[in-house]
Structures are given as C-alpha cells and as structure tokens.
C-alpha cells in the first residue's frame, strides 16, 4: 500500500510539474507576444503624441504624411521586431522632438512645448494605455510591393525648362 501511495504521489508531482511548466511556458509566450505588440505600437504612439504638439489645422495633413512615411521606414523589418522597434522609434522620436519646429517652419506656432520629462512620462503612460490604436493597416504589404515614383505619378512636373548642358551633379534636360 505504501508503495502504491508513493507511486501515486510521485505521478501526481510529475504531472503537476509538467502542467506547471506548460502553464509557465504559455504565460511566458503570451507575455512575450504582448510585449512585442505593445512595443510595436510605440512609433505610431509617438507620432500621435507629436500631432498633439502641432496646430489643429496641420494635424490631418501631417498625420497622413508621417504615418505613410513610417510605413516605408519599416519596410524590410518584417519578422525583425527589434530592428522594427529601433528604426520606427528613431523616426518617430525625431518627429516628436521636432514637431514644434515643424509647425513653426510651416509658419504656425506650436500649441504645446513639451518639457522632456513631462513628455517622457506622458509617453510612458500613453504607450501602456493604448489599446485602441488601429492595426497597421497602412503598412505596405509584401503582396503590394512599393511602386517607383514613375508609376506613382501619372505625369512628371515640367515646370522648369533649361537650355544648354549642366555640369556637375545637376542633371538638366536640354530644351
């Protein structure tokens, strides 16, 4: 009887240990995936924050530009989450940091001047709380390769005409 009990206890412990290991592995994997997803949202979240630093009338326009450019910044980083994070965040941090200068450059005054510490705290909270950021629907997909400019633009602008040859780096069209 004692031997049977020992076997039962041993089997129970083994099964419990296996289950525990399985659960831990699953939780670890879920945490990893969640962290990856949240970190992947950082660049777009930074751009959203940057948009709050520019006047309202510029926001839609700049949001469209920065979002689309971010998509191209991240091209080629599929399956490389760390590279994707670094490249996207570098681009977005630059945008966030210079949002005031960009607004001023367009001749408007930035609505907010973010103190770095405030901005950092706000950013940390914002990143953790965002869950409603739309998925990366605007990312170029592998099935739709990027188009060269010649295909994108129906006609090349021809506002400037030249005559003669243009030495140096400048390539001009002879009239």
């Amino acid at each position: 009887v004692t031997g049977l009990v020992a076997i039962a206890v041993g089997s129970g412990l083994a099964v419990g240990g296996a289950l525990s290991g399985l659960v831990r592995a699953m939780i670890g994997e879920m945490a990893n995936e969640e962290a990856q997803t949240r970190l992947g949202r950082i660049p777009r979240a930074l751009i959203r924050l940057a948009l709050h630093r520019v006047p309202v009338d510029l926001r839609d326009d700049l949001a469209a530009e920065w979002d689309s450019e971010l998509g191209f910044v991240l091209v080629g980083t599929e399956g490389l989450p760390l590279t994707r994070l670094l490249r996207g965040t570098t681009f977005a941090v630059g945008i966030f940091w210079s949002a005031g200068a960009i607004a001023a450059g367009f001749g408007t005054v930035s609505r907010r001047r973010a103190h770095p510490a405030v901005a950092l705290a706000l950013f940390a909270v914002f990143v953790w709380l965002i869950s409603a950021v739309p998925p990366a629907t605007i990312m170029p997909t592998p099935s739709s390769p990027l188009q060269p400019m010649s295909r994108v633009h129906s006609s090349k602008p021809s506002r400037v005409r030249f005559s003669g040859n243009c030495p140096g780096r400048v390539r001009c069209r002879p009239a």
């Binding site: 450019e69 998509g71 630059g94 607004a103 188009q147 602008p157 140096g168 780096r169 400048v170």
Partner: protein, 108 residues
C-alpha cells in the same frame, strides 16, 4: 513669405534636390539621401515649403489599389530653383555653371 536662412543643412538639402530638380522626392527618401534624421529634415522641409522654395503635394494614388497610403512629395518650385541656384552659387566656392543655363518658366 518668410525668408529662409541658408544654413549648411538647408544647403545640403537643396543640393540634394538639385541632383534632379524636376523629380519629386519623399521625406524618407530625402532622409536616406541626405543622411539627416527626421528631426533635422522635416523642419527644414517645412521652412522651405513655407518660403515657397518647395512644393509639397500628396500623391495621386488610390490607397486600396496601391496597398498603401498616399505619400507626400517635395519638389523645387520654379521660384525655388531660381533662388536655390542663386543662393547656392553665392555660398559655394565654385560658381555653379548650371545656373547660367537656367531658364525658369521661359521657353528655353
């Protein structure tokens, strides 16, 4: 229109445009070409757009067909070409010979 201070980074961006002055360029493309970060490039582009040197236009693509959103392009305006030519010539040790051949908006 606001005046543009022709700082060295601004000159660098303009020189990049001058490589092919009729070709519209994307922001990221300019970042790669000039080596500037987004924090450096976009304020310069904004100043040049506000000053009328650059035209900023949205691509005419259908996002659903292209599979991506329309991007924004920057191209030198005729005024921008003339002024860039003049200013870069003044700031360059070697006069840009191509400036002598430039005809803006003319028949050539």
């Amino acid at each position: 229109m606001p005046e543009v201070r022709l700082t060295i980074p601004v000159q660098h961006v303009l020189r990049h445009f001058s490589a092919d002055i009729t070709r519209p360029m994307y922001g990221y493309e300019l970042m790669q070409g000039t080596g500037f970060r987004s924090s450096e490039l976009y304020p310069i582009l904004a100043r040049l757009v506000a000053a009328g040197w650059l035209a900023r236009e949205r691509e005419t693509v259908d996002p659903t067909l292209a599979g991506r959103p329309a991007r924004f392009t920057y191209v030198l305006t005729p005024d921008g070409v003339a002024r860039a030519c003049q200013e870069l010539g003044e700031h360059s040790a070697r006069p840009p010979h191509w400036s002598a051949h430039l005809r803006v908006g003319g028949s050539g």
